[in-house]
């Protein structure tokens, strides 16, 4: 059974080996007072389209910095980040926002839902910035919420939902714009272990069925069991890249 999965996975990765994320000698140095802190000191790795990858590391290993750099939330000190054939490190603020609109979905650790919006409105929110009509975006949002199993909670406000439900809304919101790449920053960090597993299954299932590239940052090495690939970070350096880590 396991073997069959692996063969299928290998076959899939050989047929479309399009590199979608390419990180080359990425460095990020923060200046704290008069001391230079090297958050990332020369990272190299690449991801193919449709791959699901987790970046694992302890607190302070630089994993969040790596995600922020890839999403263009901050600029690198040196090195190249090529995502969907575009050099993220060379973009200005407006270009980055446009880039995120077109290519990236984001899942947060603390969900970051708009507290005064219902689940449906929260999911439809990113489409507002794309100028989509209300009817169209509500329809898309409803479909998305159904696919994360929240069809009964469309009109609920975030405060009326459990952490797991809120994160599902977060997932739906990240995917509603149909991005090629989804970044997730500790998506299960605020959830108990049972809910964590459910949410992880959900994220990975959706990413696989919709052929999304998923990059997930976590401190929990067990999460690698859900993903195809695990990049282990320690003190700003890649110590190990595991391929075919999927167990579940």
């Amino acid at each position: 059974m396991e073997q069959a999965y692996e063969i299928a996975g290998a076959a899939a990765s050989t047929t479309k080996k399009e590199i979608i994320i390419d990180i080359r000698d990425l460095k990020k140095t923060y200046r704290v007072g008069s001391v230079n802190v090297h958050a990332l000191s020369g990272i190299n790795f690449s991801l193919n389209r449709g791959e699901i990858c987790c970046v694992v590391g302890r607190s302070g290993s630089g994993k969040s910095t790596l995600l922020n750099l890839m999403a263009g939330l901050e600029g690198p000190t040196s090195g190249e980040i090529v995502i969907a054939r575009q050099h993220v490190e060379k973009m200005n603020q407006s270009e980055l926002i446009l880039f995120r609109q077109q290519h990236v979905g984001f899942i947060f650790q603390s969900f970051n839902l708009m507290p005064y919006y219902t689940a449906l409105e929260n999911v439809a929110f990113p489409l507002v910035f794309r100028g989509m009509s209300k009817r169209k975006r509500m329809k898309l949002a409803r479909e998305m919420l159904c696919s994360v199993g929240l069809e009964t909670h469309l009109k609920h406000k975030p405060t009326q939902m459990s952490g797991g439900q809120q994160q599902r809304v977060g997932i739906a919101r990240a995917l509603v714009t149909n991005p090629e790449i989804v970044f997730a920053d500790e998506p299960t960090g605020n959830l108990d272990s049972k809910t964590s597993d459910e949410v992880m299954n959900l994220i990975c299932d959706i990413a696989r069925t919709q052929n999304k590239t998923l990059v997930m940052v976590t401190h929990d090495p067990n999460m690698a069991a859900f993903t195809d690939k695990a990049v282990h970070l320690l003190d700003g350096q890649v110590v190990k890249i595991d391929e075919n880590t999927r167990e579940i």
Partner: protein, 438 residues
């Protein structure tokens, strides 16, 4: 991002913070109301002044007199200006005045004092000889009857001034010719009238023994109408056709002063609009005549009042300035409060311009609502002021349409300007630090 979405999101953000929005709008409303009420008082002041001046005569009228006027600023010798010399006003000049651009009508006239007798009663009248053909255009308002026709023969037509009927008295007893209820005993349709220019026909003086001249004639006249007091200054005069008056002059040279055949004492020039008056007046002055207009006086007066208006506006403006700072403060607070939210919407793909737009829209909403509420308050205040407090004080508060529209647009503009810096700050917020903020 569509404008509709932007408006609805901005409106929702304001609704989320009801109390703070209310307070900011309140500040804006007070600011707008104070500036509108102050300006309305200024406008009311101007309007009252205008009405007072309109009472002096028509605002489009220029009076040209038959003596010259030298502008003191145009002569080096300061002694020269006071020497007014007589210049001629005749039919030729009237034609010249007619050709000045902006002039609608020109009417020459002469004035003479006479006595009107009706039975035992008599009244002194100030007769204005007018060009009957053009008199109608010069704002004589009739109480009854009509204006005199252009003279054709020896029948003389008079239109009495407003007070003439009340002024009749008995020259022997000096009793006024009014009945117990104060109504005049002389009336247009029942009485007959005679006109003379020789006071000896009225009063029986002792003869001083000087050389005696024949007494002036008594003329039968037809009184064809009376003027209404609505005509302002015009209502004091009794009107007669200028040609008829000239004919009377030829027969009464000894008793009529200041007249000369073919020359006029005064010419009235009516302009097409009040805007033309000053230019036409300057033109006539430059031709060497003394020309006066109520409009000039009004403009001088209004010029002076404009300073008072500015002061009133500035006082109102202080309140609006405070309100504008209030908006800025509210929007800044709002940004600090919503830092995280701004970060999230940036990550979700909200463009920089849209973020600034959202905050500007919120400011504009505050300005719009504040302006509209303030305008409502202004109308209420204005009503109370006009009906309860200043009814008798000679001051009024007037809010014309342009003021109300301008006030709302202005308060929105002020709000937008106040919102600019906060909006810029929101736009420049780094998405990463914003997300990390708590």
């Amino acid at each position: 991002m569509s404008i509709k979405d932007m408006l609805s999101i901005a409106a929702m953000n304001l609704r989320r913070r009801k109390l703070r929005t209310f307070l900011t709008v309140l500040g804006m409303a007070i600011g707008t109301a104070s500036i509108v009420v102050m300006v309305s008082l200024g406008i009311g002041m101007q309007e009252v002044t205008k009405e007072i001046f309109e009472g002096y005569g028509s605002l489009t009228l220029i009076n040209v007199y038959n003596y010259s006027y030298q502008d003191p600023s145009q002569t080096s010798n300061s002694m020269v200006w006071s020497s007014g010399s007589e210049v001629t006003l005749d039919a030729k000049k009237v034609d010249e005045f007619k050709r000045i651009p902006g002039v609608q009508a020109v009417m020459p006239l002469v004035q003479v004092y006479g006595y009107l007798k009706s039975g035992q009663y008599v009244s002194g009248i100030q007769i204005m000889g007018v060009d009957a053909a053009s008199a109608e255009q010069f704002g004589f308002v009739l109480d009854q009857g009509r204006l005199p026709n252009t003279s054709t023969g020896s029948n003389y037509e008079l239109t009495l001034g407003n007070y003439v009927l009340y002024n009749f008295y008995n020259p022997k007893t000096y009793r006024q010719a009014v009945d117990n209820e104060g109504n005049p005993r002389v009336s247009l349709d029942k009485s007959r009238f005679q006109l003379t220019f020789d006071h000896r026909n009225i009063y029986e003086y002792e003869d001083y023994g000087g050389e005696s001249t024949p007494k002036g004639k008594m003329y039968k006249v037809n009184v064809v109408g009376a003027l209404s007091q609505e005509g302002g200054m015009n209502a004091y005069y009794t009107l007669m056709d200028i040609n008829a008056l000239n004919r009377l002059y030829r027969e009464n040279k000894d008793n009529m002063y200041g007249l000369e055949t073919g020359k006029y004492q005064e010419v009235w020039v009516k302009c097409e609009s009040t805007d033309d008056v000053v230019a036409v007046q300057e033109k006539i002055n430059s031709m060497g005549y003394a020309a006066y207009s109520v409009q000039e006086g009004l403009q001088t007066q209004q010029e002076m009042q404009r300073q008072t208006q500015m002061l009133l506006g500035a006082i109102g403006g202080v309140a609006l300035l405070v309100a504008a700072i209030g908006i800025m403060n509210t929007m800044m607070m709002s940004i600090y409060e919503r830092t995280k939210e701004i970060g999230i919407i940036k990550v979700l793909g909200c463009r920089m311009g849209n973020i600034a737009g959202l905050f500007l829209t919120e400011s504009a909403f505050i300005g719009l609502i504040g302006g509209a509420v303030g305008l409502g308050v202004s109308y209420a205040l204005s009503y109370v002021l006009n009906t309860q407090i200043m009814e008798t004080a000679g001051i009024r508060s007037i809010i014309p349409l342009y003021l109300s529209l301008g006030a709302v647009v202005f308060s929105m503009g002020v709000a937008l300007i106040s919102g600019m810096y906060p909006a810029f700050r929101a736009m420049r917020l780094s998405a990463l630090t914003a997300i990390r903020a708590e």
